[in-house]
């Protein structure tokens, strides 16, 4: 199995490396929103002194940490998988004795991540010197606690995206459905603002949804803003959502593959 993964890694890394110009563009695309939100909220915090108890520095550290966390927990399954169902190129992968999603697509995502991180580090350092954030709240234990949380967040997000991508077996409008899913992430993950600034209703609902595992929960862990009960709660809900995501994905996959008709093959 390890040999298979190593081979898949070589193939996917080489493939992503071919598209390194695209990667830079993707990186730019992905950087712009957090930087805009950062600018908007720091400008408000500066003019008011603080927003709901958050200072300008709190916003800078929040969004700078968000850039790292989002880089680790996000995935691109929808962009790489759905069209394989639509143009039939999934056939070649289905005849292999390994699971296309849990091996090839997964490794492909990680290779993509590896390459974007290489491009992202210098950008982050430049931003660090531009904004000179005060990260004195960050503790070693916080980071140590956040690493498994981010890995957990990545797998929950990956499996949920994979389940949605598997809708491609049923409908060609899978991209529209994914757009709706993306809006949910925006609303409940803390991507736009720290969740404490969201309306009360959204905060309450967010507690029961998996999306804050992708952004808000790891950020708060790193910044040392959570009490020990909150930390435990986050991990428990993360594990529950991992189980839900595994079951959901398996169900979708088993039923979806049966409907697959291999267009063009």
């Amino acid at each position: 199995m390890l040999k298979i993964f190593r081979r898949l890694w070589q193939v996917n890394w080489a493939e992503q490396w071919q598209y390194r110009a695209n990667l830079i563009m993707y990186l730019l695309y992905w950087l712009v929103s957090p930087i805009i939100y950062l600018a908007v909220w720091t400008s408000i915090a500066q003019s008011k002194g603080s927003v709901n108890g958050l200072t300008a520095n709190d916003f800078v550290t929040y969004y700078m940490t968000l850039l790292i966390v989002d880089q680790i927990t996000s995935n691109i399954v929808i962009h790489t998988f759905a069209y394989k169902v639509q143009d039939g190129s999934l056939s070649g992968e289905l005849v292999r004795p390994i699971h296309p999603m849990l091996t090839n697509a997964l490794v492909n995502n990680i290779a993509f991540k590896g390459l974007t991180i290489i491009g992202f580090i210098p950008v982050w350092i430049v931003l660090f010197f531009l904004y000179q954030p005060d990260f004195s709240n960050v503790t070693f234990t916080g980071i140590l606690l956040a690493i498994p949380a981010m890995i957990l967040g990545f797998f929950v997000g990956f499996l949920l995206s994979a389940a949605i991508s598997a809708l491609a077996f049923w409908t060609t409008r899978v991209y529209s459905i994914h757009e709706f899913y993306f809006a949910l992430i925006l609303l409940f993950s803390g991507q736009f603002v720290p969740l404490t600034l969201m309306p009360k209703l959204i905060q309450d609902v967010a507690q029961y949804l998996p999306f804050q595992l992708l952004i808000y929960y790891p950020i708060q862990l790193i910044l040392g803003k959570l009490s020990s009960t909150q930390i435990v709660q986050g991990y428990v809900s993360g594990l529950i959502w991992l189980v839900i995501a595994i079951v959901l994905f398996n169900w979708m996959w088993r039923h979806g593959v049966k409907r697959y008709s291999a267009v063009g093959a």
Binding site: A21, N22, M25, L28, Y29, V32, S33, I35, I36, A39, V40, S43, I44, S47, K48, V51, N52, L130, R173, S176, E179, F180, A183, L186, L187, F192, V193, L197, M198, P199
Partner: protein, 261 residues
């Protein structure tokens, strides 16, 4: 007029194409309403914490959202589909046929695909602008409205010209099929007044990828913040950038050698 006839022919073809996917159109409009809801909610969240942002009030940001949506529509209904077709035609050589036609090739390349249902977006954007301006309670005069319209048009021309230059670069660098991603990426910066951005970002979106010229500037015109000389300057920039773009396009065409022949 020839151009108008062609344009209406393009429209007809595109209406037919989108009628083949009626259900998709409905889904797209629903998603569009969803995003509008999100945009209004995010402005609501911002303004529940502050009264002004960069000196602009809630109504002004609604109006800015309207102007932003105009540029966004230009991007998504015209620039994006035509770029896709253009890149394809450079790769497979079907650009040859476009060049053989006895019409201005720049016009042909930039207007042959139009996502027709997005017209709805233009109406929505206009409503947002009117509502926003009324909410802001700014005193609008016929002159300031005229300024606003002129600046919006010249801003759109600037974006259009930049697009021409970006896709014309493909004549030199055939593999450059990421040509408009940079425009798309920075577009979101148009949602907020550039006055809130740090200097480096402001310079980037004003001078290098001038999204702000098409979003913040027209509204500044409407609010009467720009003197006559500034207004004339922005209109002149619009005209000049169009001239430069068509020159770049002509030079680029000479580089084209045809992938198929």
């Amino acid at each position: 007029m020839n151009t108008l006839k062609l344009l209406s022919a393009f429209l007809k073809v595109n209406v037919q194409m989108s009628l083949a996917y009626r259900a998709d159109t409905v889904v797209n409009i629903l998603l569009n309403i969803m995003w509008l809801g999100w945009e209004l909610l995010s402005l609501g969240i911002i303004f529940s914490n502050t009264e002004t942002i960069g000196g602009w009030g809630f109504g002004e940001l609604i109006a800015l959202l309207g102007v932003f949506r105009l540029v966004h529509t230009l991007m998504i209904a015209l620039i994006w589909p035509n770029t896709e077709k253009f890149n394809q035609s450079i790769r497979d050589g079907s650009m040859d046929y476009t060049l053989l036609q006895p019409v201005n090739s720049m016009f042909l390349v930039t207007f042959s695909r139009i996502t027709v249902w997005r017209v709805w977006d233009l109406i929505l954007a206009s409503i947002l602008i009117v509502v926003g301006v009324n909410l802001a309670g700014d005193t609008t005069t016929p002159l300031s409205i005229l300024t606003f319209i002129l600046l919006t048009v010249s801003g759109a021309v600037v974006i259009y010209s930049l697009w021409i230059v970006l896709i014309a670069l493909t004549f030199w660098f055939t593999k450059f099929d990421n040509n408009v991603t940079i425009l798309q990426a920075l577009l979101d910066a148009g949602r907020y007044p550039v006055t809130v951005y740090p200097v480096w970002l402001r310079i980037l979106v004003t001078f290098i990828i001038p999204i702000a010229v098409a979003t913040t500037v027209p509204l500044q015109g409407l609010r009467g913040e720009l003197g006559l000389s500034r207004v004339l300057m922005f209109i002149a920039i619009g005209g000049a950038s169009f001239l430069v773009a068509s020159q770049v396009w002509k030079r680029g065409l000479k580089q084209y050698s045809g992938a198929s022949s």
